[in-house]
């Protein structure tokens, strides 16, 4: 049974790869999306058949709740507001990786596992809040302009330093949970700070980048719980997302650094 499940994951990975390939060309894109959805269904069914699963009510509840929200949102969203819908979905994916990483802590043994837990929480967290801000800017829930203030770079540097310190401390003392909470809090804050200085017009590029991050978060979560399908699919999304982000930048005749740091003013004038 274990082998059959692993084989199903291999097939699912192949379907993801083929699906992504077909999504790149207009004639086959819809078929590609279908294939990748079939791969996802296969992976989920295989995961449900695993021997470690003894209780199904919470899984089913999660499926029903998440499926209903996703389906209703996808079905009734206006055509013009689809990019922000993607951002929102992406944020949920990031949050899911954060939770999986945090849950894996209970069984974590090695320092390597702790590092991957930190990564999945960090990337998942900043993907979550970053995507929420991107959604807010695109849907004009919050102002779409670039938000900058004096000393922003200093604040951001402090946040990054705080993340590094708490990550190291967490790996050294995994039993004291305050470092974990600090990492979660700071990564959520960092997601907001990274996206607010970017103007609404650049949001599609940002969403594409955050999409790549959510893949990396899934990949890190895969290492945390030893799941090869998470590693493969997450890495695929992470890598292809970065390339797509670059292509989108090129189509706008900008560089990625230019988009990401345009709000700070210093970089943009040099490059254009």
């Amino acid at each position: 049974m274990g082998l059959a499940i692993q084989m199903a994951f291999v097939v699912a990975a192949a379907l993801f790869i083929f699906g992504l390939k077909l999504l790149g060309s207009a004639a086959t894109a819809r078929r590609g999306n279908m294939l990748s959805a079939v791969g996802m269904l296969l992976a989920i069914v295989a995961a449900l058949l695993d021997q470690g699963i003894v209780e199904y009510q919470w899984i089913v509840l999660g499926f029903v709740l998440g499926g209903a929200i996703g389906a209703v949102a996808a079905r009734f969203v206006q055509m013009t507001s689809m990019p922000e819908m993607v951002a929102l979905f992406n944020g949920f994916g990031g949050m899911a990786s954060l939770l999986v990483g945090a849950a894996a802590l209970a069984t974590a043994g090695s320092t390597f596992t702790l590092v991957t837990i930190v990564l999945s929480i960090l990337i998942g967290g900043l993907t979550f809040t970053g995507s929420l801000v991107a959604w807010g800017k695109l849907s004009e829930t919050i102002g779409s302009g670039a938000v900058t203030f004096r000393g922003q770079q200093i604040v951001n540097s402090l946040i990054v330093a705080g993340i590094v310190v708490s990550a190291v401390m967490f790996c050294l003392q995994p039993e004291s949970s305050q470092w974990l909470y600090l990492i979660i809090g700071l990564s959520l804050l960092f997601g907001v700070m990274a996206v607010i200085p970017i103007g609404g017009a650049d949001m599609p590029v940002v969403i594409s980048l955050l999409n790549s991050y959510s893949g990396l978060a899934a990949c890190a979560a895969g290492f945390a719980i030893n799941s090869n399908i998470l590693i493969v699919a997450g890495a695929l999304v992470g890598a292809s997302g970065i390339i797509l982000t670059q292509i989108m930048c090129k189509a706008m005749n900008r560089s990625l650094t230019n988009v990401l740091f345009s709000g700070f003013g210093s970089v943009s004038t040099v490059e254009t």
């Binding site: 929200i69 949102a73 209970a106 390597f112 899934a218 979560a221 890495a235």
Partner: protein, 94 residues
């Protein structure tokens, strides 16, 4: 599973991901992003294994919440992508 094999898998998948995407027409940027986003919902597989352990502990609850969130990503992601692509076909653009 041996860690080193997982790292090998990771490296190969990253290269593959880089190679998969090239020369995408501009109209397909958003659907491709959305389709890839749906795949990142694969976290649901990890969440399932945490949510079904039968132990009523914190990681079980976290896993259940992760199942719900990742399912939103998966179901919504694929459906939105399909709607976008269906629109292309209707318009008859190439």
């Amino acid at each position: 599973m041996e860690l080193i094999f997982l790292v090998f898998i990771l490296m190969l998948s990253i290269f593959l991901g880089f190679e998969l995407i090239n020369k995408v027409p501009a109209t397909l940027h958003t659907p491709l992003m959305s389709g890839a986003n749906a795949i990142s919902g694969i976290t649901v597989v990890g969440a399932i294994s945490l949510a079904g352990t039968g132990q009523q502990d914190l990681s079980n609850w976290l896993g259940a919440a992760a199942v719900a969130l990742a399912t939103v990503n998966v179901v919504g992601g694929y459906m939105v992508t399909d709607r976008m692509l269906a629109m292309f076909k209707k318009r008859g653009s190439k």
